[in-house]
């Protein structure tokens, strides 16, 4: 035991005094839990809850005691189940800095029950870059799932089950059954994720799995034209209710996003491609801003039944005016795209700037009107 303690100490000295304010999921748990316990007949203020919310940049400074305990009560049982895990792996998994993790594990290692003799302490130590937790004495069982956690994971897994081409379907079904047994109300599906369906999804997945090059006819609504393209699938993903495929596009020689429901037809070219290379390029592309900042920005004033425009697209800025209208600034891909938006917005969507687009609604309406002669 003495040796173990020494090892933990060495590790902590090695990491030094640098304390990065790492994003800590463990910490977030604690604060969020606080928000939900306030729910019994008290007001959960939106603003303050939002401040503590996941994804929000964490305040720099020491982590609270309750944050650290909440984290440990999740990390310790997880470790004891695995017995030996690389320190760097644990830190990565729990989105913590190694120094915070070491500090917390070291603290846990001196906790236990009186008389605090070695055999009455939490059995965890750090040994040459590995975290070791072999004897599950204290804090060996995880905490129960909160209702939000339970609903979240069941909704996720059930949505994944409904996707075409899911692998190991039987194992997943068995897992869901066991998972639901832990839920307070196993028969009830109170939270659902509705994913768009598309008959072409399966073929695209197959092409990705087998690295098959495809030839597609693609309708581009921003230009209102259909073109034939040769693509190599890098990534298939869904966002805001649409499926997209990020693919290496032969025509442009770059990675491009295609909306799956705009693909008119798919054929295989018979060629195979280097999946790893395309996937890597897809990954680096996915991190980039979709539209970049080279695109033109337009400010629209929307009100009443056109207010949805302010919510339906990523916006650069949004300002609410005194009369209830909203000035929304967005980046536009093409003039055609803007004209479509304006036609749909009707009289309750007007162009504030640039002035050159102020006649666009009328011109678009006239073009459509021509179809009714």
């Amino acid at each position: 035991m003495a040796k173990k303690r020494a090892a933990a100490k060495t590790a902590s000295r090695r990491v030094g005094a640098k304390r990065a304010a790492a994003k800590r999921v463990a910490g977030r748990t604690a604060t969020k839990r606080t928000a939900s316990t306030r729910t019994t007949s008290t007001r959960a203020s939106g603003k303050s809850a939002a401040k503590r919310k996941a994804g929000a940049p964490r305040r720099r400074g020491p982590r609270s005691a309750s944050d650290r305990v909440a984290g440990l009560l999740i990390i310790l049982p997880w470790l004891m189940k695995r017995k030996r895990v690389r320190l760097s792996t644990v830190a990565q998994q729990f989105r913590m800095s190694e120094e915070d993790l070491v500090a917390d594990l070291q603290m846990a290692a001196v906790c236990g029950v009186p008389p605090y003799t070695p055999d009455a302490l939490v059995d965890v130590f750090i040994d040459d870059g590995w975290v070791v937790a072999e004897i599950p004495k204290l804090f060996s069982r995880p905490l129960r799932l909160t209702s939000a956690e339970m609903y979240a994971i069941i909704a996720m897994v059930e949505a994944a089950q409904r996707l075409p081409g899911a692998t190991s379907r039987s194992a997943l079904t068995a897992a869901v059954t066991k998972l639901k047994r832990l839920a307070p109300d196993p028969d009830e599906t109170a939270v659902m994720i509705d994913l768009p369906k598309d008959p072409l999804l399966e073929e695209l997945q197959h092409a990705q799995r087998e690295s098959l090059e495809l030839r597609i006819a693609y309708f581009n609504p921003s230009r209102s034209e259909t073109s034939n393209r040769t693509i190599r699938v890098g990534k298939i993903f869904s966002e805001r209710g649409h499926w997209y495929v990020l693919a290496d596009d032969e025509k442009s020689g770059a990675m491009r996003n295609f909306r799956v429901d705009r693909i008119q037809s798919i054929d295989r070219t018979g060629k195979v491609y280097d999946q790893a290379d395309v996937a890597r390029r897809a990954e680096s592309e996915a991190d980039r801003d979709w539209f970049g900042d080279s695109l033109e920005t337009v400010t629209l004033r929307v009100r009443d039944d056109a207010s949805w425009i302010a919510e339906a697209y990523p916006t650069v800025s949004r300002t609410k005016n005194r009369d209830g209208s909203i000035d929304v600034t967005l980046r536009i891909t093409t003039e055609h795209w803007l004209s479509r938006l304006l036609l749909r917005g009707g009289r309750n969507a007007t162009v504030v700037s640039p002035a050159k687009y102020q006649g666009l609604t009328a011109a678009t309406a006239a073009a459509v009107r021509a179809k009714y002669r």
Partner: protein, 323 residues
């Protein structure tokens, strides 16, 4: 070992004290009083009676916030009136789901495929003994989960506690039945006491605070399907009182696939040699119909009924003249 009786340093931090308190309360078979706790955790709580009481209350409340219920018992006999505390591990620990390794892996892949951008889903995975993984292949979905009220609402649904909030200018009291994520938005389905009917609310349109009422105030309606309770765009187009329930629309060949996907093969009334097709679609809700129609711009033309066609022409003329 006698010399090691109290090796705990004088100064321990609050996190350490909380862990020790939890460990102590969970290993003891009998409830123990604060006096006994202070004795056992010597040096960890303040020597000052009042200060140590405050520290203990804070620890107790923090642990409860973490989902660990601390039971209290008022003692009798020679300790009459004194409060004793206890933690029962079965009341807060997760019972073992006994997942097989294959099931854990399936869960991990599922969670990586449909990702909820929230800490809840990650914490749930860890508690179940699984881990975050990054899949190399296959479709991926990320569902935003960043609204400040989502976890409050989920908790209320689980507890059957009614919610009070302002929506479209009115204060609503809603028995929350469930939530649906669709097309980038979260919807709340519940019984609206103001309208005295089941209603759907966009969570991001809730104004101001959400107040949560008494648990177990209502029961869930039997056989409720949350996905079906939230109308789709197509259902919205049919949800109106316009005298013409449907319209026939000529759709350009480039968009035939999309419209078929949306309304099904049964909506096709004619297929033309040039690839275009005529669809019969609901138009009872004028506004929803117009949004749908104009999204196709000059690639869709209303053929009949004449009145609907006239309406479209009027809308277009208004926009043309408005310039």
């Amino acid at each position: 070992m006698t010399t090691l009786k109290n090796p705990v340093p004088k100064k321990v931090n609050a996190a350490e004290r909380m862990l020790n308190l939890l460990a102590l309360l969970s290993v003891r078979s009998q409830p123990i009083t604060l006096r006994q706790i202070r004795q056992e955790l010597r040096g960890q709580y303040s020597d000052n009676e009042q200060a140590s009481r405050a520290q203990f209350e804070r620890d107790k409340s923090d642990l409860r916030d973490l989902g660990i219920p601390i039971e209290t018992v008022v003692l009798g006999g020679d300790q009459a009136g004194e409060t004793a505390y206890k933690v029962t591990r079965n009341n807060y620990e997760l019972s073992d789901a006994n997942f097989t390794p294959a099931e854990v892996e399936a869960l991990q892949i599922a969670a990586a495929t449909v990702r909820l951008a929230t800490s809840e889903s990650e914490v749930a995975l860890w508690k179940l003994g699984a881990e975050r993984v990054k899949p190399s292949i296959g479709p991926r979905v990320t569902i935003g989960f960043s609204d400040p009220y989502l976890d409050v609402i989920l908790d209320a649904i689980a507890k059957r506690a009614p919610l009070t909030f302002v929506y479209k200018g009115d204060e609503r009291v809603v028995d929350a039945y469930g939530m649906l994520a669709r097309k980038g938005f979260w919807y709340l389905v519940g019984f609206d006491h103001l309208r005295k009917a089941q209603r759907v609310f966009r969570v991001d349109r809730i104004e101001g605070d959400v107040e949560v009422g008494k648990p177990k105030s209502y029961t869930m309606p039997k056989g409720l399907n949350i996905a079906k309770a939230v109308p789709t765009d197509r259902q919205m187009m049919a949800a109106g009182d316009y005298e013409h329930p449907t319209a026939k629309v000529l759709v350009d060949s480039t968009l035939v696939r999309n419209v078929t996907r949306e309304f099904g093969r049964e909506a096709v009334v004619r297929e033309n040699p040039d690839g275009s097709a005529v669809f019969e679609v609901p138009c009872s809700n004028n506004y929803a119909f117009r949004l749908w129609l104009f999204a196709m711009m000059d690639k869709a033309v209303v053929l009949e009924p004449q009145e609907v066609r006239d309406n479209v022409v009027r809308w277009l003329d208004e926009l043309t003249e408005g310039a």
